[in-house]
């Protein structure tokens, strides 16, 4: 069949070529074209895909240059994205307005354009002339009726591109365009994913510094495809209390991650301001409804008081916490909740004081950890409870649930987990303190907690604490000079009595006056036996108190 075309003069030396579909590309070139839809291409990342396409097109047509410009829709410009033989186009970030110049006309008219003599044509891009290109042929890249860019080839020697060449280039464009579009979308998604992961990482500390009285561990895992709005947080509050937070903003991607950042900050600020957990969530809910964007999120907050052995818990539409006893028995705690954050505003958020004694642990998590298609939420929680049983501590608990519940290829939804444990109180208390007055308060706190855990009755707790604090005060006052030393406290319960030893490396000083002697009198009255042993290595005060039986 004879090639037919209806050349149309565009002026300025440009000829628009409307391809008659009956014109076929030569068989050998057609065979080569198959390589353009090679499945291997779809595996390439965006930039490499474009490069590979251009190399193949250049070889196919025997041209010197090839370039792809993509549409910047917002600015209605073509941007050079890949080039062979005229790499400067990309390096210099050439932009061509739609409707102007060679590529601009192709984009506007959506037709192939052939330029026989570049010197006498309307060419906007000076690089084409500078490179000494004589003839050009270009076609639009179209996907499902939408223009996405322009593909053009050039020759350094004058060349008349015929309809066969056009047919080849047109076919190449038709084959390449969908792949380009797919790769570009993936690239955009990939970039957003990277940004969101970065944002998430910057907001979620991978580990926490040591906190007196509790141990905390946490994990975050983005979903297989994208990050979401899950978060955890740990907040140090007054009186040795620690706030532990879990939250989940509905949705995915950068938007959800950014919203998560706002809610996390608001919650942290209200908690630090001293509000109780329920009130904190109420304020965050109010904050959420004040935002322009629509917010749908759940969150839970537990304020752990290691001394009292409690966790004050409040939840706005979040999943039930799991409590793990000191001997590793886990159970889900179902308590009344407030509605999710940002849903319709709530007046009150119920608060619950849950027991969290020494060695006991609480686990908070998001639905990504447990949700499985076709499995009821309660059955999923039972699986979680089973998977955490026997956990030794927060780190162990996180390890166990991530290992047992998260699929090998990554979770379908993002996952956040945080576990907090009220530190187990050892059978024997060993403390080393700097010998200065401010050491006395934390010493008493540690001793009280230990005595409480040893089930020593209140009267004896108070009196033993006074006696030990007095002995330590004496050490601090007398045992050292200006150079501050340290002292140790060793306490244990044995045979129905508590024995406490206070040891320092200084010399025992007998009380000097009536007032200062009062400390020793207190010790002697509070304890059943007091023994002071001093030698060249230092002084040890040993105190014993019988416990009622």
């Amino acid at each position: 069949m004879k090639p037919q075309a209806q050349p149309r003069q565009l002026g300025f030396g440009q000829v628009a070529l409307e391809l008659d579909r009956s014109v076929a590309a030569p068989a050998d070139q057609l065979r080569d074209l198959v390589r353009l839809s090679d499945p291997a291409l779809s595996e390439l990342e965006f930039t490499r895909l474009l490069d590979e396409l251009l190399i193949r097109v250049r070889d196919l047509l025997g041209v010197d240059t090839a370039a792809i410009l993509l549409l910047d829709e917002a600015r209605q410009e073509l941007v050079a994205r890949a080039a062979k033989g005229i790499e400067e186009e990309v390096e210099q970030g050439v932009r061509i307005p739609i409707g102007r110049g060679f590529a601009g006309r192709i984009a506007k008219e959506r037709v192939g354009i052939f330029i026989a003599d570049v010197d006498h044509a309307d060419i906007l891009n000076p690089i084409l002339r500078q490179k000494g290109i004589q003839s050009l042929l270009g076609v639009p890249l179209i996907v499902e009726g939408e223009l996405i860019g322009v593909l053009h080839v050039g020759s350094l020697s004058p060349r008349v591109f015929d309809l066969r060449d056009l047919a080849v280039l047109d076919l190449a464009a038709a084959r390449a365009a969908p792949a380009i579009e797919r790769a570009r979308l993936l690239d955009a998604v990939e970039r957003e994913h990277r940004n969101a992961v970065m944002l998430q990482r910057s907001l979620l500390p991978p580990r926490f510094g040591p906190v007196q009285g509790v141990t905390v561990a946490a994990r975050y895992l983005p979903a297989r495809d994208e990050v979401g709005g899950d978060w955890y947080d740990m907040i140090q509050l007054s009186h040795g209390r620690v706030g532990v937070v879990i939250g989940d903003v509905a949705g995915h991607g950068l938007g959800a991650a950014a919203l998560m950042g706002q809610l996390r900050t608001a919650l942290r600020a209200y908690a630090l301001d001293g509000h109780r957990p329920g009130h904190t969530l109420r304020l965050v809910d109010y904050f959420a409804t004040s935002l322009d964007e629509e917010v749908m999120a759940s969150a839970a907050l537990a304020v752990v008081d290691p001394d009292k052995g409690t966790a004050t818990f409040a939840s706005a539409g979040h999943l039930p916490p799991i409590l793990v006893s000191a001997d590793g028995k886990a159970r889900a705690i179902e308590v009344p909740l407030a509605p999710p954050l940002g849903a319709f505003g709530f007046k009150d958020c119920p608060e619950h004081e849950l027991p969290l004694g020494p060695g006991e642990m609480m686990l908070l998590y998001t639905d990504g950890l447990i949700e499985r298609r076709g499995v009821s939420i309660w059955s999923s929680i039972e699986t979680l409870v089973a998977s955490i049983s026997g956990a030794q501590g927060p780190e162990d608990a996180c390890l166990m649930v991530m290992d047992r519940l998260v699929p090998q290829r990554g979770p379908a939804d993002d996952v956040a987990v945080i576990a907090v444990q009220n530190d187990p109180v050892p059978a024997v208390l060993e403390l080393e303190m700097a010998a200065y007055p401010k050491a006395l308060a934390p010493l008493r706190q540690a001793l009280r907690q230990w005595l409480q855990n040893q089930a020593v009755e209140r009267e004896a707790q108070i009196e033993i604490t006074i006696a030990v604090s007095e002995a330590c005060a004496n050490t601090i006052e007398h045992a050292y000079g200006p150079a501050r030393g340290s002292f140790t406290v060793h306490a244990e319960q044995r045979d129905g009595r508590v024995e406490v030893k206070v040891h320092d490396q200084g010399r025992w000083q007998p009380p000097r006056d009536q007032h200062r002697g009062r400390g020793l009198k207190i010790i002697e009255t509070a304890m059943d036996e007091v023994d002071i042993h001093a030698d060249s290595t230092g002084t040890t005060v040993t105190m014993r108190r019988e416990l009622k039986g």
């Binding site: 006395l440 108070i462 009196e463 006074i466 604090s469 007095e470 005060a473 007032h515 400390g519 207190i522």
Partner: protein, 116 residues
Amino acid sequence: MPLASLNVHRQGDIVYAEVHGDIDMSNAADLRQELSRMTPNDALGLVVDLRDVTYLDSAGIRLLYHLREDLRTGRQKLRLVIADGSAVTHTLVLAGLDWGAEIVNTVDAAREGMDR
């Protein structure tokens, strides 16, 4: 976090001071100074409310003795308000401190005793 906090107000001739928190050797001297300073010479006396004191040691008892001496030089009276069975009571008992009528368990009782 300070170990203890102090609220002082004056009503008529009497200065009332409420102490919250722990009193030990780290803050007793400062507390004594502050309480003396807050009791001007024209006041009849000082009522120290120790019901919210969670811990008191021998340094605290020393503070109370010194405070009483400070006030006596100005012919002013001191009353301590202490809750029965509290940590403070324990220390007073252990230290054998018995001030009789100077120790009461309500602020009203402290005020009434001041006039005598």
